[in-house]
Symmetry: C2
């Protein structure tokens, strides 16, 4: 028996080598994995041309995964530097890398990534369309756009962000509902500009079947973009956002009819008390498709600290069912991230994912915490360091004062360390 996509394999009862690898990293049964893949609730983004991939599963019952955005742009166009960031991100535990390049030899860069990245690779072809055809967006033809999509598939990208749901119905909602921040999705705004200036329907919506055929051919996972994600707490959970989510739900079903794997992209800026609602809405309207969220960030007022605002939102989102977190760095809203920003963003995102996994009851997730606290309870510093999410930072912090931390305790409590004293009494 043969299959075109992982979803088709699952539906035909074929156990692929990608499923086998995923199964080893998760605490789900083979039967569950295949059932959920067949239903679209789990995806394994794995382009047939991405030979260096070590596949991961994303979706219900699996560990929450994290994505890191990188790429070459006009303002930061050193490919080598960016590749170094990619490799460091993978070392730090990124499950996926989105290459958001918008400048220079994007295809060369993409192919280098596909040659060396065990992490799943994603792109937003509309960005590359700008790199390829220039900033006069309206002049791009439908053929131009599909050419770029096909190239990305050929080049081994595992998932593509396509804002196919931002159709004329959504544009109408956008016009009828005032927003504080109209469109903050870059890919979404490019398509919007194309639609408005050409007075035409979204080409990826209009020619959606063509898009599905390309994705099916390479087994590229469609990451249906949220072009109208809120860019401020004010705009969260508003009519344009939910309208687009409704359309994405329809597109999800259509993709599944062709065995094309789908993820749904989500907000964005969302008040803490609206996050659970957003997660539930996605799972309902998009029929259980994995939810890939950007943040969400829970306040607008903390540029410089949006790794923290998104860790808060991401943890709550994950605990309410989000499957895949896009990292946010301290540089968000201010500048392209430096290597240090990238690291801060990754760690914050990994914390959020893990915290969410504990809360949603992913089997084994909390064992890590128990091991750490056992080490802490016996003041076994070596073991504590080994279990730290960032071993080097922890060691550096303790070393900075090691002379004054007499023996077992740390300088927080010194001789009055409650753990030390209690252990002595008991």
């Amino acid at each position: 028996m043969s299959y075109m996509t992982q979803m088709e394999a699952a539906r035909k009862g074929i156990f692929t080598k990608e499923m086998e690898i995923v199964l080893k990293e998760e605490s789900i049964s083979k039967k569950d994995l295949m059932e959920k893949m067949a239903q679209g609730k789990i995806v394994i983004p794995a382009n047939k041309n991405h030979k260096s991939l070590s596949p991961k599963g994303i979706g219900e019952g699996l560990k929450t995964k994290i994505n890191v955005n990188l790429g070459v742009s006009e303002d930061c166009c050193d490919q080598e530097l960016e590749l170094e960031k990619v490799m460091n991100s993978i070392k730090l535990g990124a499950d996926a890398i989105m290459d958001l390049s918008t400048f220079g030899d994007t295809r060369g860069f993409r192919r280098k990534l596909a040659d060396m990245s065990p992490a799943a690779l994603g792109t937003v072809p509309m960005y590359d369309a700008v790199a390829k055809y220039g900033k006069d967006i309206a002049s791009m033809t439908v053929e131009d756009l599909f050419k770029v999509v096909e190239e990305h598939c050929e080049d081994g990208m595992d998932f593509l962000t396509i804002h196919a749901g931002l159709n004329l119905t959504c544009v109408e909602r956008l016009q009828k509902n005032n927003r504080l921040t109209k469109i903050v999705s870059r890919g979404g705004s490019i398509l919007y500009e194309w639609m408005i200036k050409n007075n035409k329907e979204n080409p990826f919506y209009e020619h959606y079947d063509r898009l599905l055929d390309i994705c099916r051919k390479y087994d590229v996972t469609l990451s249906l973009g949220d072009g109208l994600r809120p860019g401020s707490l004010k705009d969260a959970t508003d009519a344009p956002q939910i309208q687009e989510l409704i359309i994405l739900g329809e597109l999800t079903k259509a993709a599944w009819e062709k065995d094309v794997q789908v993820m749904i992209e989500g907000p964005g800026h969302v008040p803490l008390n609206e996050i659970a609602t957003n997660m539930q809405l996605e799972k309902k309207l998009c029929h259980g498709a994995p939810f890939y969220v950007l943040g969400p960030i829970v306040t607008d007022i903390a540029p410089g600290y949006d790794h923290i605002t998104s860790a808060i939102g991401g943890a709550i989102a994950a605990s309410n069912g989000a499957d895949f977190l896009c990292y946010v760095t301290p540089a968000e809203h201010l500048r392209l991230p430096t290597a240090e920003d990238v690291k801060e963003g990754i760690i914050a995102s990994k914390i959020a994912a893990h915290v969410g996994d504990i809360a949603k009851g992913i089997k084994g997730a909390i064992d890590w915490d128990h091991a750490m606290s056992e080490a802490r309870g016996t003041l076994n510093w070596q073991k504590m360091f080994d279990l730290c999410i960032d071993r080097e930072k922890a060691i550096e912090y303790r070393r900075s004062v090691i002379e004054s931390s007499k023996g077992e305790a740390c300088t927080m409590c010194g001789d009055l360390c409650p753990i030390k004293r209690c252990n002595e009494i008991a």
Copy 2:
């Protein structure tokens, strides 16, 4: 008419100057404020001897407040350096400062604080007992302990952490229920040691009326400590913790009978999905007394990043009713915090408090976000900076690449800035 405490004043219908100041900073009515103070749901920690105080209210319907822990210890004994940290913390927006000094001339330091701090001041007298009488804890007499308490009250401390609830009943629970991390409260462990070694009841439990009389005299707010707060996710919401909370509820009622203001201290290490339960339990068992939480931190595995793990927990706690957040710095579990650690901790805690305020619907809280997003929507950088929680960091981030951020946009999207392009189309 006269009154001894703010609570008594509220009960007698006396509108104090402290209430007047609090009212100006909050969006609650005078009637509501006084009613809730009379019920114990709001406190205004304001020792009669703290002349430099600018009083703040803590409790139901008010903005969530944050506390910063500082102090002089054997490992870090430079009073001037510590005072500088205090002043910086107040500048950064700390609502309260807890002086956790355990070494040297603690009384001199405390008095300096009372002379210059507009922020409310808190202490843990048991720490000072160690500074005063040495580390042979069992040899301290009940008189010794009360002497320290009286001194702190005389010196103008607005609230005192007293672990009066950690009585023999709680010790029994502790012995019958295995924990991964037995006691992680320093003050709690000192009292525990005293109790075990002397085979006696907790002196603050046994002589609670005496404690209340002292507090009443100076109008010191009792911050009833959680000596058995969980120190690991494993121990969260367990029998010893909840047993102590039950006792604290009884002590709260007894304090209210003498018009003594009370806050309840809370965890600690708590999985995300148990935070709401913890908040509800406190409000029920302690009859609506304000809840003052340390974190909570939502995973044990991130030393070096516990400002983030506690921002996650603090935001969720606040959104579920916590009234007062104790900051946690990146140095938690590793060393005493540096000035930079203190800043990181304060900002993270302020973010959590604000995010919680938005979620719990504190009137006006979200206006800050709306103003920021309005500025963002028009790419008004000056206004954005002015609204940032950390103006300097945001400016520094943008300045670092200002040459390449051409005009309005930032380097994140450059010329493809969706806000810029959408504004041009519309």
